[in-house]
């Protein structure tokens, strides 16, 4: 359970996030949706303290995140970014082991967990000794997810996780990944500007504009009862031909 209260952040004079309040239920997948610069990524990065807020509070399972050391907080929160954010000098095995090692897991346990994840994510066992440059985009994205899930974090944050993939691979990979039981038990906060992705993955969507929450609700609620024209326009995903 994540609870966000009156959160705000300015960069220079620009209000990136302006008095934002909402909550995410345990096991829920919440999608932060909006245009570029609407404050969705800043909101996400405040959840694992990559950005510190100017005002407001965030509680995860009742604990104020500002009151704990940032590295320890982050080790309990999975983090996935575009194209995986993999380290070029780490093999797949080393990448998956990153957080477990920080948590001082024993090599045996780490190895077992790595195998398990490879299996679930349908990565070939031979890929353990590969470097990111030797993988396809889809594979890199899976490894990025495996790395985030390795230590079984209760919360996973994803920042445009499929943004670097072509539309076909993107659909394919996300269906596969979100079909995992691993993720269904986890609280996921995902940032995207892709409406169909949001509609497909979200338990609830939080649509943001200019740093503020415009509407939050299930995909159905947003489509059937949009709060205003902005919501209606934004969710109107059908292609409009300009000619003919």
């Amino acid at each position: 359970m994540i609870s966000i209260q009156h959160l705000s952040k300015q960069f220079g004079g620009f209000k990136a996030v302006d008095d934002l309040s909402m909550s995410v239920a345990t096991g829920e997948t919440l999608v932060l949706l909006g245009t570029s610069g609407c404050g969705k990524t800043t909101t996400l990065r405040m959840l694992n303290r990559l950005v510190d807020p100017d005002g407001g509070t965030i509680h995860i399972d009742g604990t104020d995140i500002q009151k704990q050391p940032a590295p320890e907080l982050r080790r309990r929160i999975g983090y996935v970014i575009q194209d995986g954010g993999l380290f070029p000098h780490y093999t797949v095995a080393e990448a998956i082991a990153t957080v477990p090692k920080l948590l001082n897991w024993t090599p045996d346990v780490i190895h077992q967990r790595s195998r398990e994840l490879l299996d679930k994510l349908q990565l070939p066992a031979s890929s353990l000794n590969r470097y990111p440059s030797e993988l396809s985009g889809g594979q890199r994205q899976r490894v990025g997810l495996a790395r985030a899930l390795a230590a079984r974090p209760p919360v996973v944050l994803m920042d445009e996780p499929f943004g670097a993939l072509d539309p076909f691979t993107r659909r394919h990979v996300r269906r596969e990944l979100f079909g995992l039981t691993e993720l269904s038990e986890t609280t996921v906060v995902l940032v995207t500007h892709d409406v169909s992705e949001a509609l497909e993955l979200a338990d609830r969507i939080a649509l943001m504009d200019k740093g503020q929450l415009v509407q939050i609700g299930t995909p159905d609620e947003l489509i059937k009862r949009p709060a205003n024209d902005f919501v209606r326009d934004f969710l109107d995903d059908k292609p409009h031909r300009l000619r003919g």
Binding site: L50, P71, R74, I81, G84, F87, H89, T91, L102
Partner: protein, 518 residues
């Protein structure tokens, strides 16, 4: 080429020692540069504002010519391994700082962002992500620094820090091509070899690069250790000029004549006096009339057995000039025997250290000797052309002659100073471009006449006999006369600080040999 291999064969021990010292100097300074440069590079990668100033300062250091940098360091650090290491360290610093900085700042922000997001601390990000990813760039910097240092380390021989420069500068001083190559070829091979090795390492990837870097880091102190190889320790530390160390009439002559055995430090001849003055060496090979003998209160050790050939100064003059102006010979000979070693040393001292003009020093000398006359007025139609080489003693002698001749005769003296070396001066005399100049008997013998080696061995090196020999030979061969010697001999001399020499009771070279043996 055969000469070269013979030389290398005869000097293998020296070559190995010099090469090891060279490697040691290169890598000690590289190690220091890494210890300072890498943290500095990391610091400026974190604080962008410090970057331009730090890189600017390191860049300026890099542009100082290496000889000049050593020149700045000698007053601060004296001679020996200290200034050499500091100079090399400063040259290695820029490539290390710059490449650490570039390597770290070029790590993709998304990678460091992911690392932070996974829960790595700043130190973990640095050690596990940024530095490993910066390694190839850092190694490129290490390569640059190593190649620069192998080159600059040859200059260590100027300041008695050893290395392959000993052969190179010794060879240049002695015009010995084999010797120059014996230093230059190994130095070039070291540069090429280290460059290739580090290039190979730089292009490894992933884990292999990290392992290679670790091996290199462990190897560095070992390579550095060569700089600290124990040099031979004498009871007295000798500092000899490269030329003196190699010339048959220098150190080898001393070994043969007196059985002197030393492991001298080799050093630039102008720094030698400074080094003995600062008590960094106890014994040097100087020239017997140098002004610094007086300035630094040095004592010349008596050369009882005449190991050093005499370099008695005397004017040498063309027969044609004597024919034209017969009075010239008596005038010039008025100075015969008037300038002893100590008088000449004092005159040199007055010009070099008290910064008096040669003209004033010459006039004072002539006045004291009762030879000064104010030139009589009147038209001077007849001229005589005098030459001199380019160092203080010759400038002073030229002034003395000019004032003497113009006071005693109606001749006008035209002075051509600045005739570089012996060969230039002598050619000018032979061809009639000048009429006379002051020369030294040893130079006349060894540089101009150059009798065959077996002839030299049998010759007596007494002042009188050398004078008689060169005079006879010059008259026969060139129709040039040696007038009467001035009285001093500017020859090689071993010298010590007077105080130490007195404490140890050393007055002569045999005293020195006895002292060293007990």
């Amino acid at each position: 080429m055969n000469d070269f291999f013979t030389f290398v064969g005869d000097h293998t021990d020296q070559l190995i020692r010099q090469t090891l010292t060279h490697i040691g100097l290169t890598f000690v300074s590289l190690l220091l540069a890494l210890l300072i440069g890498v943290p500095l590079g990391i610091l400026i990668a974190r604080h962008a504002r410090l970057a331009s100033i730090t890189l600017g300062v390191a860049g300026v250091l890099q542009t100082i010519p290496s000889v000049a940098l050593l020149g700045f360091l000698i007053p601060l650090l004296g001679i020996g391994i200290g200034p050499a290491l500091v100079a090399l360290f400063l040259y290695a610093l820029l490539p290390i700082i710059r490449n650490t900085y570039v390597g770290i700042t070029e790590v993709s922000p998304s990678v460091t962002d992911a690392a932070r997001g996974l829960g790595m601390t700043d130190n973990q990000i640095l050690l596990k992500v940024e530095l490993p990813l910066a390694l190839p760039v850092l190694f490129a910097g290490i390569r640059t620094a190593t190649v620069i240092n192998v080159g600059v380390a040859t200059l260590a021989a100027y300041v008695a820090a050893g290395g392959l420069g000993e052969f190179i500068f010794g060879g240049i001083a002695l015009s010995n091509t084999s010797m120059i190559l014996a230093g230059a070829i190994p130095a070039a091979l070291l540069a090429v070899g280290f460059d290739a090795g580090l290039a190979w390492l730089q292009h490894r990837s992933g884990r292999r690069l990290r392992v290679g870097a670790l091996v290199f880091a462990l190897l560095l102190p070992v390579l550095s250790g060569f700089a600290l190889l124990p040099a031979g320790h004498d009871k007295l530390v000798a500092g000899f000029a490269h030329e003196f160390y190699g010339r048959a009439d220098g150190y080898p002559g001393l070994q043969k004549t007196y059985g002197l055995q030393l492991t001298p430090k080799l050093i630039d001849q102008n720094l030698m006096y400074e080094a003995i003055h600062r008590e960094q060496v106890d014994l040097i090979s100087g020239y017997s009339t140098d002004g610094r003998i007086k300035a630094f209160d040095l004592q010349i050790l008596a050369d009882d057995k005449h190991a050093f050939p005499p370099y008695d100064a005397a004017p040498i003059i063309r027969q044609a000039a004597l024919d034209r102006y017969p009075a010239l010979e008596t005038t010039l000979n008025k100075l015969a025997g008037r300038l002893s070693d100590s008088v000449m040393t004092t005159l040199n001292y007055q010009v070099d250290y008290q910064k008096q003009s040669p003209e004033a020093v010459a006039r004072q000398f002539l006045q004291r000797a009762g030879l000064y006359k104010t030139p009589s007025p009147g038209e001077r139609t007849q001229t005589i052309v005098m030459g001199s080489k380019v160092f203080t003693e010759q400038y002073i002698l030229a002034e003395i002659y000019r004032q003497l001749i113009e006071g005693q005769t109606q001749l006008r003296v035209v002075t051509k100073t600045g005739l570089g070396g012996t060969q230039i001066c002598f050619d000018a005399l032979r061809t009639g471009a000048i009429d006379f100049y002051p020369e030294y008997t040893g130079t006349g013998l060894l540089v101009i006449l150059q009798p065959p080696a077996d002839r030299l061995r049998t010759m007596s090196m007494q002042s009188d006999s050398v004078y008689a020999f060169v005079n006879a030979q010059f008259e026969d061969t060139y129709n040039i006369h040696w007038l009467k010697p001035l009285g001093f001999s500017n020859s090689y001399a071993l010298m010590m600080r007077r105080q130490q020499a007195q404490e140890l009771g050393i007055r002569s070279i045999p005293d020195l040999v006895r002292y060293l043996q007990h």
